[in-house]
């Protein structure tokens, strides 16, 4: 017992010592003792709340005079609220930013650059994947470093596979195998109302990855639409086929009961999804022991879309010093490790992936880490937020069988090119 207490004392002494070091030589402005006041921190993930509280506690050990108030908002209203706040100069001091909105905010002087933080060593960009860090640069100015790396996988329900007598997918399975597996499960268990697959009819969780796997693209390298490439419509066809086969619920069914609900309640055996959006849901399910993540199928190549969120500071923050100190702390190893250990999402910081994988040892989280090797950047064109919403209306018609995948790709091509031009 005494040993334990001593161990904790030593360990916390080391942590505190480290923290003190990184604070003294790392902070932008000056001594942590001189930074004080209140800041707000807006995000949308209730699953991360306990983790963020722990991170804020750790931050306050270093900066005792700063109070951080976390504000969690529903994702559905996050961006409308943020834009309204930006219009009235009342943005939160620190907030989450994604890749599709980054350019809008950075390009309109809403974000504080972090070049000073990098210069002073408070943030070390070499600790994050280069291609993601570069994304948060605009005209040579760095505004943030990635806080996480998100990739996709297919969740499978092992118990349903066993009941259907269907072998678990091999790591290098193809989209044809995927379709056949889905059908085999539907054939075996359909009389119990169980489907092979349930999916979100959206790009990032579902069809962008299959578009990439068939060699297509959403946004081509020159910033115009990539939907005219032949692989793009093949990638859409995958999901239209599943619905046409009857091995997936229809679009109305998937609209009224979401894919995660079908999967978590044992009504669908496979569920492709984004790691950060699904791990917490899957891990919290009563029958989580049945679930495991397997790699996405491949076609002409193996591919998943990848995305990173980031913490940014409002350019008009009333307490810029405290906000940037917190931003730097969030980007540091300690905070990144706490986030990885929560198992909600893979942290971007070098060397934290083991902590993430070990957070839920039986869920196969290594799949999300391995997927980084075959990941394709999140498609971004100007005005992204506007065309993504229109995209799902057109793809929805293709999945429902109202138009062919080729016709959908043609419409998407026109729509995206117009959206890019209009900005």
């Amino acid at each position: 017992m005494n040993k334990l207490v001593a161990g904790i004392a030593i360990a916390s002494g080391i942590v505190l010592g480290l923290a003190a070091c990184s604070g003294s030589d790392g902070s932008t402005t000056s001594d942590p003792g001189e930074v004080s006041g209140e800041i707000t921190y807006a995000h949308w993930d209730p699953n991360l709340e306990p983790t963020l509280d722990a991170i804020i506690d750790a931050f306050r050990e270093e900066y005792p005079d700063v109070t951080v108030t976390p504000v969690v908002r529903p994702y559905a209203q996050y961006w409308t609220t943020l834009q309204t706040e930006a219009s009235s100069n009342t943005l939160p001091d620190v907030f989450w930013m994604d890749m599709s909105y980054f350019e809008l905010y950075a390009g309109n002087d809403q974000l504080a650059p972090i070049d000073d933080l990098i210069e002073s060593g408070a943030i070390d960009p070499s600790k994050y994947p280069d291609h993601l860090t570069e994304f948060f640069q605009l005209d040579g100015v760095q505004f943030a470093v990635p806080k996480d790396v998100d990739t996709n996988a297919v969740w499978i329900n092992k118990a349903l596979f066993e009941q259907a007598g269907v072998p678990l997918p091999s790591p290098d399975w193809t989209y044809d195998d995927f379709r056949a597996t889905s059908q085999a499960i539907r054939d075996a268990l359909g009389d119990r109302g169980i489907y092979g697959t349930a999916f979100y009819p959206y790009g990032q969780p579902t069809y962008w990855s299959s578009v990439f796997a068939y060699g297509g693209s959403v946004v081509a390298d020159d910033g115009t639409s990539g939907w005219d490439e032949p692989g793009s419509s093949r990638g859409l066809q995958v999901w239209a086929d599943l619905i046409a086969d009857g091995s997936s619920p229809t679009i109305p069914q998937l609209s009224e009961t979401l894919a995660d609900q079908w999967f978590l309640n044992g009504k669908a055996a496979m569920f492709p999804s984004i790691g950060g959006a699904s791990i917490a849901l899957v891990a919290a399910a009563p029958n989580a022991a049945d679930f495991v993540a397997v790699p996405l199928p491949q076609a002409e190549r193996k591919a998943t879309v990848t995305h990173a969120l980031t913490n940014v500071v409002s350019a008009r923050s009333k307490n810029l010093a405290a906000a940037q100190a917190f931003q730097a702390f969030l980007a540091g190893e300690q905070a990144q490790r706490l986030q990885a250990e929560s198992g909600v999402i893979l942290s971007a910081y070098e060397g934290t992936s083991d902590a993430f994988v070990q957070s839920h040892p039986d869920l196969g989280l290594q799949t999300f880490v391995d997927a980084i090797d075959y990941s394709v950047p999140y498609p971004v064109a100007r005005n992204s937020h506007a065309w993504v919403a229109e995209e799902t209306v057109i793809t929805g018609q293709a999945f429902a069988g109202e138009i062919t995948a080729e016709e959908a790709a043609r419409q998407l091509d026109d729509m995206l090119n117009q959206a890019v031009e209009s900005e």
């Binding site: 219009s87 679009i251 069914q253």
Partner: protein, 319 residues
């Protein structure tokens, strides 16, 4: 309205009489005093109206001629928003949807008249219990109501389709089939409004003199003809009020629609005028265009209400 005009003449004559009866030469000053006092008392109210209603209306009218940058910054663009509004299919669609919604909700008025009459029967026991039951939906949060109804309407696992299934009816996907989705939302809106309507109509029923019913039954009038010949005509002022309120409320449809269909792809076909306003102003950030839509909503509600007030002379009987 005409009740008010009936009230006014005696009051005016009173003032005129008072003035005429005042012999002293200071009457002119007294008159200007009595002109200012009421204004002073009404001042706080008019100030509130001016700051929170009139000024925003004027501002909205101005903004409808402007274009907004992504984070504010207004540029004057003349009639551009209004031109695109008139040729916008989405706007016409939203107008159509809103009118359909209002019409379905208005079906609740005859239902409420029937229920209020039943609840007002002197022999009925537990009137308060029924009244509370019918009024509760009006008090509950629309979002909470929406979530529960969304579960009930669910095509695969909802209680409504399970119930229809008992009779061998294969229920539709209420919330994801374009036509059905709007009707489903309107049914919820109707259900919420019925409680409010019943309370208003009950008050109206109580003001009908019981002697009329006594006389009618002595003359041998059946219950039904008493209802049609006495209750309904004498209830028309309350019915008129309820219809006006329901129409205004219906044109403002947003929260129910947002909470029931907000994340369903069917919303693309099912937007109401206010939903379209929200979508354009806050999701797509076309605030100038949004202002034009908001102004049109105001105009439509004002015109429809004005028409109702004109038409009431033909069918509303004030006792």
């Amino acid at each position: 309205m005409s009740l008010a005009t009936h009230d006014r003449p005696p009051a005016t004559t009173g003032t005129v009489a008072g003035r005429a009866g005042a012999p002293n030469p200071g009457s002119r000053r007294r008159r200007s005093d009595s002109g200012w006092w009421p204004l002073l008392f009404a001042g706080p109210f008019f100030l509130g109206i001016a700051v929170f209603y009139l000024f925003p209306i004027v501002q909205t009218a101005y903004f409808s001629f402007t274009d907004w940058g992504p984070f504010g910054g207004v540029t004057f663009v003349g009639g551009e928003n209004w031109r695109s509004l008139l040729s916008d299919d989405e706007f016409l669609r939203a107008l159509f949807n809103t009118v359909v919604y209002v019409l379905v909700v208005l079906l609740g008025v005859p239902i409420a008249v029937g229920l209020a009459t039943l609840l007002n029967r002197p022999t009925l026991r537990g009137t308060m219990v029924y009244r509370t039951m019918f009024f509760l939906p009006y008090l509950a949060m629309p979002v909470a109501i929406a979530l529960v109804w969304r579960l009930m309407f669910n095509g695969d696992f909802g209680v409504i389709n399970a119930f229809l299934g008992l009779f061998g009816i294969d229920g539709p996907y209420w919330l994801s089939t374009p036509g059905f989705a709007l009707v489903a939302v309107a049914i919820v809106g109707l259900w919420m409004a019925v409680g409010f309507n019943i309370i208003i109509l009950s008050a109206g029923l109580r003001s009908i003199p019981p002697e009329l019913y006594e006389a009618a039954s002595l003359d041998g009038a059946s219950r039904w003809s008493q209802f049609v010949r006495i209750t309904v005509p004498l209830l028309t002022p309350s019915i008129f009020f309820v219809v006006v309120m329901n129409v205004i409320g219906g044109f403002q449809l947003f929260d129910l629609l947002f909470a029931i269909l907000g994340n369903n792809p069917v919303i693309a076909d099912t937007k109401s005028l206010v939903y379209l306003f929200y979508d354009e102003s806050f999701v797509l950030n076309n605030r100038g265009y949004g202002a034009a839509i908001a102004f049109v909503i105001l105009l439509i509600v004002a015109i429809v209400t004005a028409i109702q007030f004109r038409l009431q002379r033909r069918w509303v009987h004030y006792a």
